[in-house]
Amino acid sequence: MTEGIHARLQLAWPGFRLAVDLDLPATGVTAIFGHSGSGKTSLLRCIAGLARAPGGLVRFQGESWQEGNHFVPTHRRPIGYVFQEASLFPHLSARGNLDFARRRADRGRPAIDLDQAVDLLGIRHLLDRLPAQLSGGERQRVAIARALLINPRLLLMDEPLAALDQARKGEILPYLENLRRELALPILYVSHSAEEVARLGDHLVAMAEGQVLASGPLGETLSRLDFPIKLGEDTGVVVEATITARDATWHLAEASFAGGALWLRDTGHALGERVRVRVLARDISLALSRHDDSSIVNVLPARVLEIAEDAAEGLALVRLAVGDTALVARLTRRSAHLLELAPGKAVWAQIKSVAVIQ
């Protein structure tokens, strides 16, 4: 993958160790997921050149950023960086902060212009304010616009929502989804939130104790029963689907994916629109025959691929194939035993609820 990002880094500080050897795609959003202290921020800082792992190697699209004694300082790397907490220059207005980036932007390639960045992040009405006069969420939106205006070839985001409360997160996530949809800009997105990862990621890297435990396409990686980070109630998969029908009477929309279709509450998406649907393992129950006498709308024929014990006592995780798409169900071990579930067995997956997350 010479056109992607390659990072081979080792760091050892008292009480902390980082040892990674990663190939990442230089397209879409790569979510770097792990609990705090897992080394994900250190990895990002090394890629940015803000931290230096002696003897490490960082390459981006064939360009060497660090190799042997060669070390490109941060200000010469074509990156944008969004920090976890507000990082706006306090002495400059929102506009001043954006101008700081525009004056230093890479002019060698087509750039996002001020109007585009301002509209993408919805910050036009905030431009004349000082950072001290903005809310946490507004500051972070300005910081994201500023990182875009430097015209980066790679955007690094270090838990941009972690310092915000739930309401503010909800306020910013749609803007991040805009970025993902509208800019052909590779993004490395560090997060410890399963929800953010499910909403934004295309590729998933799971980290713990300074090491990479899994790396792969989001859907595939999340459906692995041996996914190394226990998600508990958040266990579930993400399915890319297309809106293929809308039922005005019942206010429902049909989202088709490889191997089947789900009916969802109509959230106003147009026919043909791509959506991302999250199906949590705890919302799927299994039956051996099809029941039409329940309130459950989505009942899909599936085949058992694999069964594993869940971290929680008494529960099992079952990986299912619905056509070409993998789902994960979480049920009691007793149910798994009574249904005599085994790889290859045909079952009906009853899906209690599905959420469109994009």
């Binding site: 803000l50 944008g80 960086y81 220059f89 002495h91 700081f100 980036a101 001290a132 430097i150």
Partner: protein, 235 residues
Amino acid sequence: MSGALLHWQAIWLTLKLAAVTTAVLLVLATPLAWWLARTSSRLKQPVAALCALPLVLPPTVLGFYLLVLMGPQGPVGQFTQWLGIGTLPFTFTGLVVASTIYSLPFALQPLQTAFEGLGERPLEVAATLRAGPWDRAVHVVLPLARNGILSAAVLAFAHTIGEFGVVLMIGGNIPGATQVLSVAIFNHVEAMEYIEAHWLAGGMVVFSFLVLLALYAFNQRGARIGVGTGGAGHD
């Protein structure tokens, strides 16, 4: 020469000395404070202690050593003579050198506090926005440390205006050349000219009060808009 002319000469000389000293100190103390704020070198504590010495030493001790060093037999004196500029004691340049050393801690401390208060983050942010080291210093560090720099300048200026012992030791008392206000006041008191002493001394009290008032008011405003303030050296 009339008394009034002497007064104006002393006032002018004092202001000139304070202005030149402040300018020299800002140039020298800024990099030094930056180094002290960010280094983890083992030299940090000794250097910091050395720079703080003028705070605790009697001005006469400082003046005495400066006189010895810069005098005809001292190493600095030998060097300046070799350069062909003679010796520094009893000249305006000598006063500037002495004042710079004497007021150094007053410039250094607010600068160092301001730089330490900045933290690593603004510099990292600037680096991710393509700002190189000089760009960062000029467009991020200096504006963010603005209040610290202002405090340093005001304190260095005011402290130089108030110095007495060091000047007397190495500057002597030459009207028009090295006789500054504080020395002029001393002369008036010695000569029992209390009215003249009152005018000059009272003027200095008012001046010093106004300078400090302006400084505190400015720092207060800086704190309100959230720009990092470098507190005054001893507040």
